[in-house]
Structures are given as structure tokens and as C-alpha cells.
Subunit: 193 residues, 2 copies
């Protein structure tokens, strides 16, 4: 997948985001500090705080901006293939150390801290939902998704089983698991006539 | 739903479990301590530790034992009605203060502490999965669930969208939401011929 967008960040902003991810990888999210990021990036703390009011927002922004292209949906005209490709890309990212544990730590914090939960939704879940809906809407118009399927539920139905495995049973989320889940969601639980 | 089982716990065990839940309700899970439970129940700490090696296990056990009947599946012969009733019961429990925030805190801890994650799965998720599979298997044998539906995925597919809302978007999980999710899962995303 090529990223055809023009770069949206100046060099200093990108340096700060790279320093954030490098440090998170080295010390983990819990021990990440804005002071350390500032030192690593060679900028003052106030430069960081001007753009990002908290460590959580800085981390989200860095994680998602630098990994954004992988989260886009391709549109080859085959909705099942495109969903597979996008979701495989997402779980490959989570399976690449240290992203899985870092994302898990963030979701864990979101259970205690409403600000982290709000940032998670604003910065990741809602944009992801918009992309998912746009791709599914096109597929629905092409007759590949049932006209009765309620697109408002799409994000929960497609992502829920992955989060269940990632957060609750904590087993590895494999490509095979994704493929089986997608097939089951497409077929439905009820017998077909 | 009546609980037809014989009581499995002696009076002292039940007193400890009730004290645990009362205290959790009063001070929250984070501030719950085995010392305080022992004092409230009028027993020694060692009495508690003999049965429950950690606060997490004591809390799980108390929460689930005293609320177990609501998590059973009825079998009226109508799988959709029975799933609705069981899942409505579960979310009603989570919607009754303080269970929702307490359960959310536990899942949050499970993202940082593998022992809590293991206990969550052993004490709650796997028994729940067994009940779900038994009920769905009967329905599959009666032709109410597609013979192609992979029962190994059932727990993730049925629970995932609820956890997604409970943990990620953190919107209220309503009966209406459950009904719409169940309908979408039964129908499937693909157009029916």
C-alpha cells in the first residue's frame, strides 16, 4: 500500500513523535515521560506541551500518525479480500513488538482514566470507524453487503471478536482467526435456506 | 430464573464473600484489602488466604458465586429468545452499580497483570463459554443454528461486540443494542439469496 498523501508534519514534529515511539519501545508506556522525550528529541518540554497536553495524547498521536497508512482500507472491489487485508495489517502491527503490549497498556489505562478513553476514541476508534463505514458502504452499494446490515454496528461486530481475544482471552490474534471470524460474520449464525 | 442447586458453601465462606462485595461496593476494587475483608467478616486473614491466594481471586469468586444464577442460559427451545434473556441479564448486572465499574477495573488490571487475566479466564470466561457452547450446540442440533457455524468462535462473536462497547467506546450497553447485534449476527453481513 503506498501512502500518496503529502506529509502533514514538519521535521521537528516528526522528530518528537519518533523519539516518543523509540522511548516507549525502550522503557514501556508506564515509564515514558515527556521530559525524556524532550531530551531525546532535543527540544524544550514546552514545545511538546504546546502541541500535546498529555503523555497519552502524545503517545497516541505518535503511534497512529507514524503507522497510519497500514490502517487504510484498500478498495479492490472485493470487500472480503479488502477487510482481510486491512485487518491482517492491523494485527501484524499489534503483533510486532512492542506495539501489542503498548496498545494493551493504553486500553488498560482507558478503564481507569476517562481522558485516556476519550483520546483513544477520538484519535483512533472514530477515524477507524469512518474508514470502515466508507468501505462497507461502497460494498453495500455494490451488493456485496446485505442491504439489511446495520452499518452503525459494523465496527463493534468486526472489531469486537478481535478485542475479545486481544484483551480477554489474551490468545494470539492470527490471520487464520481473522479469516474464520470474517467468514462466520458474513455467513451469519442462522441456517441459510 | 430459580436456582435449584444445593448451596455449595458453608456459612463462613459465604460471610467472607458477602463482606468482600460489600467492601468493594463501598471503597472500590483498588482500595479493597484482604485485611479489611477479614475484619468485616470477623475472621483471621489466614482463613481467607487458605482459600483465596490473592485479592483478585477472592473478588472474582465472590462476584461470580453470588451472582451465578443470572449467568445461566434458559432453554425454552428458542435460541434467539434464550440468548437475549441471558445477555440482557448479564448487562443488567453490569449496569447495576457498582458491578460495571468493578468489572471494568478488573479487566483493566488484566491488561497489566497476567495473574488477573488468568483468573478472569479461569473463573469467568471459560465457564461462561461452556454454558454458551452447550446451549448453542443444542440449538444447532435442533436446526436453529447453521451447521456451518463454528462454535469455537461463538463466545468471541457473541461477547466481542458487547466488550467493544463496554471497554472501548464506553457507551452504555442497552437491551436494544444487544437485540440489534444478535439480529445482525444471526442474519450475517452477506446478502441472502
Amino acid at each position: 500500500m503506498t501512502d500518496h498523501r503529502a506529509p502533514r508534519y514538519d521535521k521537528r514534529t516528526e522528530t518528537i513523535m519518533r523519539a516518543t515511539l523509540d522511548l516507549a519501545r525502550e522503557v514501556g508506556y508506564a515509564k515514558l515521560s515527556i521530559e525524556a522525550v524532550a531530551a531525546r528529541a532535543g527540544v524544550g518540554k514546552h514545545t511538546i506541551y504546546r502541541r500535546w497536553p498529555s503523555k497519552g495524547l502524545l503517545f497516541h498521536d505518535s503511534l497512529l500518525t507514524l503507522n497510519e497508512p497500514v490502517l487504510d482500507y484498500p478498495d479492490t472491489g472485493d470487500i472480503m479480500a479488502d477487510l482481510r487485508r486491512q485487518i491482517h495489517g492491523t494485527v501484524d502491527l499489534l503483533g510486532t513488538p512492542p506495539w501489542g503490549p503498548l496498545y494493551q497498556a493504553l486500553v488498560g489505562e482507558a478503564q481507569h482514566d476517562p481522558a485516556v478513553a476519550a483520546s483513544l476514541n477520538e484519535r483512533f476508534i472514530r477515524p477507524q470507524e469512518e474508514k470502515t463505514l466508507a468501505r462497507l458502504k461502497a460494498a453495500q452499494e455494490q451488493g456485496q453487503i446485505s442491504p439489511d446490515f446495520d452499518l452503525d454496528l459494523a465496527m463493534a461486530i468486526l472489531s469486537g471478536p478481535l478485542y475479545f481475544r486481544f484483551l480477554i482471552t489474551q490468545e494470539p490474534v492470527t490471520h487464520d482467526y481473522i479469516d474464520r471470524i470474517l467468514q462466520a460474520l458474513f455467513d451469519g449464525m442462522e441456517p441459510r435456506p
